[in-house]
Amino acid sequence: MHGTIGKMKHTKPGHHVHHFVISYPVTMRERVYTLIVGPLLVCLVVYLLVRLFPTVSGTQTVTLPVIIEALVATLLRIGVAYVFAAIIAVPLALLVEVNRTVESFLLPVFDVFESIPNLAVLPILLVFFMQFSFLDGAAVTILFLNMVWTIVFALVGGLKVIPQDVTFAARIFGLHGFSYIRRLILPGIFPQFVTGSILAVASAWNIIIVAEAIHAYIPNGIPSQDLFGIGTLLVSASAQGDRTGYAIVFFAMVATIALFNFFVWQKLLNYAQHFRFD
């Protein structure tokens, strides 16, 4: 639902410098197809699964206002984490551009950080943020960690596809320092920023349940410590036998992702075509 990755390759063994080629729907027909058909297929599968395990009678845990409120809370968490990830990822990727020595030092470091399983640090993050009674901080941090390296490596891949002739032309025509970054590098890596962002946000949705239903990671945690959001609703509806509620929450989540895809990512992908080198 977040575009199709056509190619993803490593330039050096062990270095995850990705060259993303995301095919994007061009015509309105294709765009509507990605808005409706894909999400409907996903929802159909979930519906069939829910039919296999019907709702335990008497349980009704979710209502529409609750779902909307939960969606807003979840989107805010993902949004805040994404903004931080984007703000941090751009300068981290630009450091690679400084020179080859810095690049050869930093890329392996980035690789190590990317390789650390994010969920392994969640318990310690929770202990840290519990001191301030700010569990949202742990959720946003884990989402941030999940997103930032995806964007960093997409941007590093973007730096590699700026043609040498163009960088030479930039230098000959007086672009140095900040103007070189502002007028060449930032526009030049914009397509990879968009594709990296799409993948990063997709990965955030992947771990939203873990980021919100956090009581399992808190020492002696109880469900009331979970953060209110779409991930928690999914877990609690399922745990309480409210399969219909689970399906409704799931459909709402898929619809949100599909609409976001249609109105934001597809438009950005389309716009990013203007920034691609042939």
Binding site: V166, A169, F173, L175, F275
Partner: protein, 235 residues
Amino acid sequence: MNTVIEFTNVVKRYTPEAKPALRDVSFSVVEGEFVVLVGSSGCGKSTILKIIAGLEEASGGVVKKPAKVAMDFQSGALFPWLSVFENVALGLRQEKKTESEIRSIVERELRLTGMLAFHDKYPSDLSGGQRQRVGIARALAVDPAVLLLDEPFSALDPKTTAELHDDILKIWHETKKTIVMVSHLIEEAVSLADRVVLMREGVVDSEYPIALPYPRRESPDFHRDVMKIRKEFFR
């Protein structure tokens, strides 16, 4: 005539252990001259352009070159997100020219290269030949002392190449710019240059002044000069 470029015993090594790209290059270019460097791949001709452009430093020897040079590349090296107008204005904006100066200069160069009607188009809307014209306009816009052309026609079809040959000669005659071009085609070099410099394995092998009238391809002596250089090239 003033000498604008002078290489004296220039050596270039990209890494200390690598074979030198330039071993001992000495040659000069005078103001208003059109010099074409020819040679097989890896002979060092593009390295010479990069040193003149300030993109590389010589490892040894003495290089005299003007402060202001501009270069056009094989790909055109245009910024895809900028319009034709803004691509040509790139260097002018860095020079902090006023908006009216920029407009006047860009329009002049686009008119000279026949691209004025395309000022609001983007590189993706243009053919290879049109991109080259924009690249040349961008280079001329900063009023360089020397215009460097790095195999500008090698990716183009023969018809477009012939048209651009005529255009570059027209631009040269109108602007009186000093031009140093790299090519791997001897016919192209002889049809354009005042002087052809043949490079071989990092040194200047030989130089050939071309005294034929333009257009040269119709001249009976064109093939004689081409064959003379070709014989040396394949020696």
